[in-house]
Symmetry: C2
Subunit: 318 residues, 2 copies
C-alpha cells in the first residue's frame, strides 16, 4: 500500500479516540478505537498511539501517511492547531497540532470536534447518494452545538462561533444555564444540564429520565419534554437562520434513538399544526439521526487534515 | 454616456419605488423615487416608469441599460423572476421578471427586498473601506427578516428561507404571532405586531409607543421593552448561528434612530453582564444601523441584476 496518499482522521472524545484511515478514493481502510489519555501529555500519547494503530490495521507505514486531522472538544484555532479549554480531557491549553506534527513528521490540522463531525456527516450523506448542498450536524452531548456545512464547506463564521445554538435562549422563564443566561437550548436539552436537574446520579441519567417518564414520574416527564422542546428549537433556529437542507442529530444523547426522535417529531408536528408557515418548512422531514457508531467525526477530521495542499504537493504543482 | 454598461436597481416598497442607476465603477450615477402603483399592472407600470426616470436623470438611453434588478417584498423565485404573496402592494402572483424584460428588452432579475438590501448593505460597508466577509442585514419593518451575506455572496439557503428569524419563538408565554406560534421575534418587535397590540391607530404607532413610554405609560413601556428584547434576540440568533461579523439594522422601525439603538444596546449589555460567554461575543460592538435614506436596497437590487453574464457577454467571451 506504500505510495498511496492515506489520510488519518481522529475524533478525540472524553473517553475514547476514534481513528480512521482514508484511502485516496475517500473510503475508510481501517478504524480503531482507543481510550483517551488524560491531560496534555496523555492526549498527545494516545493520539500518536491511535495513528500507529490505525496505520498498522490498514497495513500502511506511518511514514507514508499524507496528513492527520484531529477533531477535539474545546476552543480550537484551526490556523495554529492550538486547543483551549478542553476541560473534559484535562486540557487547558495545548499546541496539539505542533506537538503531533513534530512527533510524526506529517502535516496536522486540528478542528473543534462538532465542526469536524459536521463535515463528516455531510460527506457520508453524499456518499449515500444524496447530494445536498447544506447541512447542520446538531451535536446533543453534555453540551449542545452545531457544525454547519454550506456549499460543501464548513462554515465557521467570523470568529468560529457559527453553530453555537446551545446558548440561544428560547424561554426567559426556563432553567438557568451554566453560561449565566436562562432558558438556553443547552439548559433545556444538554446532557449535563439534564443530569444536574435530575440529580439522582447514575451512569446514564438521560436514559433514567426517559424510563422514569415512562413510569409516570412528573418531574422526569417535565425534563423529557424540555429535552424535546430544546432540540426542536435548535432545529427551527438552524433552518430559519441558515435554511440548511437537513439537520442531522448526533452525540451521546442520541443513544436514546427512536424514543428521542419520536419526541422531537411530535414537538415539530405541534408547531407545524399551529402555524402554516412552520408547516411550509417541512421540518419533520428534514431531521435525521446519525447511525449509532457512525465514523462521521473521525472521517470529518480526516477531510480537514486533507484540506490544504501539503508541502510536497505545492512543490510538485506550484 | 452611451456604451458604458449601466445597471439599474429598484427597491419596490409598499409606498414608493427607490431606483438607482449604477455605473461600471459601482458608483450611483442617479437616484429617483416614485410612488408604487397598486396590483400587478400598477407595479409593472411604475417599475417601468422608474427605470425611464432614473435613466433620464443620469442622461442614459434606456436601450443602453445592461441589466435591471428588482427587490420586492413577498416570496420570490430568483430563477424565474416570479413573485408570490406581495400583499402590501396588492400582488398575489406575478411574473414580474418576464413582464419587465419583455417591455424593456433587457435582462431582469428579481429578489426578495430584504435579501437585496443585505447585499447592498454589504457593498456599502465595503465601499466604506471595511472589508468584512459576512454580514446580516436585519430588517425591522412591518415584519422581521434578515438578509445574510457570507463570503460576499447572498446566502439564500436550501429553499430561500435563510434569514427568516422573525418566526423563531423566544418566549413560550409571549404574545401570539400572526404565524400561529407564540413569542416569535416578529410578535415582539415587528411594526405590525406592535401597532396591533398598541391598537390606538395613528400613522406612526411605534413612535407613539416610544413617546408614551417616555411619559410613563406602563403598557407602552412593556411594548417598548418587548421591541428591544426581540431585536436583541434576533442579533443573538444571527451571531450564534451564522456568526456574521456585523448585524446592520434597517427598515421603517429604525426611523426611531438612537432611541431604538440605546434600548437594544442596553438589552445586549444585560446579557453580556449575566453571561461571560455572551460577553466574549462582543455583540454591542457588532450592531450598526443603516443611515436614514440609505440606498442599500436599490443598490443591492442593481448588484443582483448584474450578477449573471448577460447574453451579449456570453457571445463575446464564450
Amino acid at each position: 500500500m506504500e505510495g498511496r496518499p492515506m489520510r488519518v482522521g481522529l475524533d478525540v472524545g472524553g473517553t475514547k479516540i476514534d481513528a480512521v484511515i482514508v484511502d485516496p478514493s475517500g473510503g475508510i481502510a481501517a478504524r480503531v478505537r482507543l481510550a483517551t489519555g488524560w491531560g496534555a501529555e496523555g492526549v498527545i500519547d494516545t493520539v500518536i498511539a491511535a495513528v500507529h494503530a490505525v496505520a498498522t490495521d490498514a497495513g500502511v507505514n506511518v511514514a507514508s501517511i499524507r496528513s492527520v486531522g484531529i477533531g477535539i472538544p474545546g476552543q480550537v484555532d484551526p490556523d495554529t492547531g492550538r486547543v483551549l479549554h478542553a476541560v473534559n480531557i484535562g486540557v487547558d491549553e495545548l499546541d496539539l497540532g505542533a506537538a503531533i506534527s513534530a512527533e510524526l513528521g506529517v502535516a496536522v490540522r486540528v478542528e473543534n470536534d462538532v465542526k469536524a463531525a459536521g463535515l463528516g456527516a455531510h460527506a457520508l450523506h453524499r456518499a449515500g447518494g444524496d447530494r445536498i448542498d447544506s447541512m447542520a450536524y446538531l451535536n446533543l452531548g453534555t453540551g449542545i452545538a452545531a457544525g454547519i456545512v454550506i456549499g460543501g464547506r464548513l462554515w465557521r463564521g467570523a470568529h468560529g462561533a457559527a453553530g453555537e445554538v446551545g446558548h440561544i435562549s428560547v424561554d426567559p422563564q426556563g432553567p438557568e444555564c451554566r453560561c449565566g443566561q436562562r432558558g438556553c437550548i443547552e439548559a433545556l436539552a444538554g446532557g449535563r444540564a439534564i443530569a444536574q436537574r435530575w440529580d439522582r446520579g447514575g451512569d446514564l441519567p438521560v436514559l433514567d429520565v426517559f424510563d422514569a417518564a415512562d413510569d409516570g414520574d412528573p418531574f422526569a416527564r417535565e425534563l423529557r419534554a424540555d429535552l424535546a422542546r430544546g432540540v426542536a428549537a435548535a432545529v427551527r433556529v438552524l433552518v430559519l437562520t441558515a435554511d440548511v437542507e437537513v439537520v442531522v442529530l448526533g452525540g451521546g444523547v442520541t443513544a436514546l434513538g427512536e424514543r428521542l426522535m419520536a419526541d422531537v417529531a411530535a414537538e415539530l408536528a405541534a408547531s407545524a399544526q399551529a402555524s402554516p408557515f412552520m408547516r411550509s418548512l417541512g421540518l419533520e422531514g428534514r431531521v435525521e439521526m446519525l447511525a449509532s457508531g457512525s465514523p462521521a467525526a473521525a472521517l470529518g477530521a480526516a477531510l480537514i487534515g486533507a484540506r490544504d495542499p501539503q508541502p510536497e504537493e505545492l512543490l510538485t504543482h506550484g
